[in-house]
Symmetry: C2
């Protein structure tokens, strides 16, 4: 029988996600595990990216780093949204400085017809083992967040074959072959649901879905190619674990995201006042939204903007975070200041 996980000591994130009263908002940062951390950069020299994702002991070590070194109120699993693509049989490289490359991208409806929902316990077992290992390594200090890429964002990479500013190849595919696109989105959705369920079974205590490229779609196209799949994931997963939907650039549909009952992640273009208004005040928990580039400001400015952010969102039904992933060249001291400022907010 498996060893039970240590009891949770800091439940601020889970309380905020359930809408319960908290003495101060929890704080974590998207992409907090990796990139800017000197200890991570050292590991990068010894292990390839996929090796870092595949070895449970490395996953646990990297995931734990920001909890110990920065003091965040949650750990987010060190992994990548493109593991879902790998599970579907795509050959994906992730070399430093180059970004992801899909060596066998979708180029025709026939390429989609060949795909099927994989058994995630086989194809993503390495992530699940990493989750279990990490839960033990964390020792109950903070909760562990699992995650997955949203179907639309995964489609962007799997069709375009790499990161580009506008993903026009992927959009053209969807606009020319809507049936094949919806078939691909459906396969990605079923895979993601199974994957997230398995993450919860393995030990993830909360989940986030990243729809990083949702904002590239027009208002109507978002309702067709992204939202229904996010809704389907939310319906399946919410009964099992608290879920945060982060759809970057989707200011126009925050109300629809809030209607799923999930917490809603915000990018930095949305002011707190407007976000609260759009989702119906304190009906849902909001997460965000400092511009990651603002952590490149002088320290006093980081403090000032962080205080203002928490002041504007309020301390309840709120999770302090950035509006997108932390930048690789962010000074560690500024990340610490960000976290410390949120923690001290109640006293200020």
């Amino acid at each position: 029988m498996a060893t039970p996980f240590p009891p949770l000591q800091n439940d601020l994130l889970l309380r905020a996600l359930r809408g319960e009263a908290v003495k101060r908002p929890p704080v974590w940062l998207m992409r907090q595990a990796g990139r800017y951390l000197p200890d991570y950069i050292k590991l990068r020299e010894q292990h390839s990216f996929w090796e870092r994702c595949e070895k449970p002991e490395l996953v646990a070590e990297i995931t734990k780093m920001p909890v110990d070194q920065i003091g965040t109120d949650a750990a987010i699993l060190f992994s990548d949204i493109l593991v879902t693509g790998r599970a579907l049989g795509f050959n994906i490289t992730l070399n430093e400085g180059e970004g992801p490359r899909v060596l066998n991208p979708v180029r025709s409806p026939d390429d989609v017809a060949r795909l099927a929902v994989p058994n995630v316990h086989d194809s993503l077992g390495y992530v699940l083992a990493g989750i279990e290992r990490t839960r033990h390594a964390l020792g109950g200090k903070v909760p562990l967040i699992g995650f997955a890429g949203a179907p639309w964002t995964l489609l962007c990479y799997l069709v375009e074959g790499r990161g580009t500013p506008n993903f026009y190849v992927a959009k053209e595919f969807c606009f020319r072959h809507p049936e094949a696109a919806h078939r691909l989105l459906d396969i990605l959705t079923q895979t993601t649901i199974a994957y997230l369920e398995a993450q919860v079974a393995a030990g993830a205590q909360a989940l986030q879905v990243f729809d990083s490229w949702a904002g590239l779609l027009g208002f109507t196209d978002f309702q067709h190619f992204s939202l229904p799949y996010l809704q389907e994931i939310a319906r399946a997963i919410r009964p099992k674990a608290p879920l945060i939907l982060f759809a970057k650039g989707v200011w126009h549909s925050l109300d629809r995201l809030a209607e799923t009952g999930c917490a809603v992640g915000l990018d930095w273009t949305v002011s707190a006042t407007r976000a609260r208004y759009l989702v119906g005040n304190n009906r849902v928990t909001l997460q965000g939204n400092l511009d990651p580039a603002r952590l490149l400001s002088p320290p006093e400015e980081v403090v000032r903007r962080t205080k203002k952010m928490v002041g504007n969102f309020g301390t309840q039904r709120y999770i302090a975070n950035l509006g997108h992933g932390i930048l690789p060249n962010t000074p560690v001291e500024n990340v610490k200041l960000f976290v410390q400022t949120v923690k001290e907010f109640a006293a200020s």
Copy 2:
């Protein structure tokens, strides 16, 4: 004495910009001169990018192409927003497939201290000569739109040194050195005002300012680093010619843009209903906003979406356009269909 320009035959664009009644909305496309047009691609083989911008006969020929071949209701000058940077002494290359490169970008506040507002008649005389030549070449068929880059977007390129997805180097510069950034923005604003005034004197009949990267700024940062400069340009230029402000991604400040009294260009994330609501219904003329990637759809879909767009915006105080520049690989037939569908809208 200069030869007077031929009288204008199609004043739909100017009427729509003045808020006068029109029998149907005018239609043109951002970046309509170039890229996707076979005759332009031929010229590209014989003349470098800057040569095409510098020789008045080439400027006139390229600017006129979409008017004759696609049937747009306006010509927009063939040029580039980065001519303003060149006028300030930046060495900028624009090679096919590589995007712009600034060989001597701003790297420190000292680099800004060395800059001064140039005499635009000297440094941008080639554009002004191109405008005059084009007005004659157009023969009064449609009005000629002049344009310039917005100060914020120009700063992005001049500091970052090239196009990137997020312009983090430029943002970091602004956040670390706000005084130098504002000094640079002020120089760019004064240069832009003088440049746009000179364009009107040379024959431009309407103007557009492109703030392509405004949406990278958070709500508050946009109010600091972009909006005041757009407002200053609007105050100076509006008494001289109709002006369209296109700030991509700035859904959150459409009301502030509308308050300048300028026409407001929209990207494709904003629905017509929401845009009309945000700017106070028919108080200002709106322009946009089909997703350029939607012109990669099958022809019947191009027609359907174009009809829907005009139907949603209405025929008055509206200029049909894309939500950003046309893509290089757009089929010419689809561009023609887009224009034709707008023209036939009243009859449908």
